[in-house]
Subunit: 467 residues, 2 copies
Amino acid sequence: MDYSRLFFCGISKIDDETKTLLAQNNLGGVILYPSISKNYPELIDFFDFVNKKSKKLLISSDHEGGQLETIPFVPPFPGNMALGRTKEIYAREYAKMSARIMRTLGYNTIFAPVMDLYTPKSSAVMGFRTFSSDPNEIIRYSSSFLDGYKSENMLACAKHFPGHGKAFSDSHETVVKVDTPIDVLEREDFLPFEAAVKSGIELIMTSHVIYSAVDELPATLSKKILTSILRDRFGYEGVILSDAMEMKAISSNFSVEEIVEKFFNAGGDMILLSEGTKNFNVFYEVLEKLVKEGRISEGELRKSVEKVEHLINKYFSPQNIGFVKEVADEAMEIEINSLSKRGKVVFLMPFPRQLSQADVLTEHFEIIEKEAKRMLNAKVIKYSSEDPKPISFEDDALIVDMVVDAFRNEKLIEFHKSLPQNTLYVISHDPYDKEFFKEKNYVVTYSTTPVSMGMVFKLIQEIPTRG
Amino acid sequence: MDYSRLFFCGISKIDDETKTLLAQNNLGGVILYPSISKNYPELIDFFDFVNKKSKKLLISSDHEGGQLETIPFVPPFPGNMALGRTKEIYAREYAKMSARIMRTLGYNTIFAPVMDLYTPKSSAVMGFRTFSSDPNEIIRYSSSFLDGYKSENMLACAKHFPGHGKAFSDSHETVVKVDTPIDVLEREDFLPFEAAVKSGIELIMTSHVIYSAVDELPATLSKKILTSILRDRFGYEGVILSDAMEMKAISSNFSVEEIVEKFFNAGGDMILLSEGTKNFNVFYEVLEKLVKEGRISEGELRKSVEKVEHLINKYFSPQNIGFVKEVADEAMEIEINSLSKRGKVVFLMPFPRQLSQADVLTEHFEIIEKEAKRMLNAKVIKYSSEDPKPISFEDDALIVDMVVDAFRNEKLIEFHKSLPQNTLYVISHDPYDKEFFKEKNYVVTYSTTPVSMGMVFKLIQEIPTRG
């Protein structure tokens, strides 16, 4: 049996390892960390890869709004605590607005809302992520929030069950214990989750906090909390997802075997791993072994897989922004006969300037310069389009020459043509410029945008380094 | 009769002048320039104002994708020329994706697609904004583009009629003349517009180019072009919008009176003014005068007003992101007894640091620092949260002190409390911190986000400067 649906993996980079993880396994979900969400070339690369190579799956972010915002295309928001002091309807509006944009990009799952109770001196990890210190207020705002997500068909995840608010330290960093009596927990922290279950929530994330009045194990591994309370008492039939198992409150105190065995036997369905490429195989193999040894029930896991499949079928949509990469890619016209990447890459670009009131080239050029450095480790040299001066290069340099509107200036044409043999001309602004570079190596991008230039940089990355 | 519906005004700033323009007139539309679209506090201020004070109207952007992108929440795109070399369906996908996000923000109109024909040596203003040099290809891609906008109920605007592609210079800067024979124009540049009319387009923007084979007047002012060709021959019944009348091709050659008289008598419906606050009254008064003098028909203008009203009713939606400002505003708890703004504003903020893995405070702090300088012209001083050192201030300084998690550190509390009398404490991260500042001037924001801090800066802007 394939258990990979029972894993939700954090990914931070779209490299070969990540692509292998996605292509070879039937993951239940991935959470895209800020290094992808905030890095547009990585983001469209991810969705393009999903379109071409991966099965459908849950695609999540932890863009809660306020203190934790990771997707630059979602407008900034003050956050839940400010929200909790205003009109309830705004909770719905924000959830709707943010979900609509996230879905447009291709996300289908969101690790929000935070349903924890604010307490004086809550851990800084809570900050202003919570709606209120009054459970009934949390219920009011989170219901409105969940309504908004629902209206955009976004899978929401209530967190962190059974409530992280009374923890004075941060389970990312250390073991955290709450000694509050059970009757207080019942009438405070548990309430918002109980209400969310009643209203039909389908995904709940556990906290790694120890509630000593209930169990000596952290909630994530506690059968008393996940099964006796959440399943049996609250009647929750949805998916239970762990918080990231790499967090110190779990990983410093339990072996992988203990984590896997205890979590599934406690009633959990899906394991969140923040370092997917590093840890998926380790956890998967342990899970397989424990099933073989009869220490975890295959029948129960099958039910979990079915529940996850149900969510994927309900929420996955093939619409995403992967096509943007496709457009930049397909539009390119490539004529490369011989280029050598023995030496350093030198990126030649014009000094930023606006060619007309109908462009944002100046801003684009700034991003492109950064990307050339990041992706190619290139030395960047800027030339003046009005009065280009000769440049000398190291013998083995690979020159990438961004040609912008050459035909307008004889001197500029001469400048470009005088560059060494080992030059790739990137004809970016006017396709007719290519007539000047017929016998040379060139790429026509039909665009000077960072997206298109990024495709060129990728192409250069793929030129083999020859000795 | 009220003719203000016949004006589409460019706005660049949400100041008192703009607010007066919007509140006192029944404008047909506004186009938000990048200084608003890219400046989030201005953007939410605009929509908040629309929600509270203005009538419904068209709200536009010129975010075409590619060379001209002005809304940071719309993911970047290579542009039309790259698009024109890929699958047609991507045109629809891009229009749909961008429109969906623009509508979510509150825009209902888009000055796109560009339907001009690409020509070797087209003016740089065309750049890679056009789909192709083949009119049939333009029709193919622009239809798909328009479909995408339509599916999101976004009002599209075909431009620049009857085609700007053969112009070798830029009408922003100078008079532009095209001497192409009429039969060539008819089978090339005109075709995409003719097709758009057939497919039911509702808004067309004119070009300021002179087509000498048809008329000696620029298209915008030419009855032969707007009425004989567009209305009579193509059968267009939608709204004709001028390009911005401040562009040199028009404004250096015609008086306001000539512009207004010729445009409406040529068959135009709406005048675009890029500098709304400066020019609306001037143009409006001239229009009124010309009607009184019988040089423009009131009956025709009434029909134009009705057409504009029809578009507004069809496309305006009250959903927008103005509520974000409302949340930041309503959440604030203000206790100010006496503050004097005689001297310079000093903004005290902690050195940026992440308090936990679940925040993006570091990035927020960078934005807040910039905003303090921009909005308050403040001197920014950073303190260390671990080990704050005493600071000396000018006697008349107004100190704005951003308090983040004071209770965690006795020394920090002492530091904050030791500040001069004329201090406003901004309790931003933990509301319980306010217990330390009971007798002082304070604001509780329930959020450290730039949105919420922006509201505080606004509040300070409004403190009267006392002598």
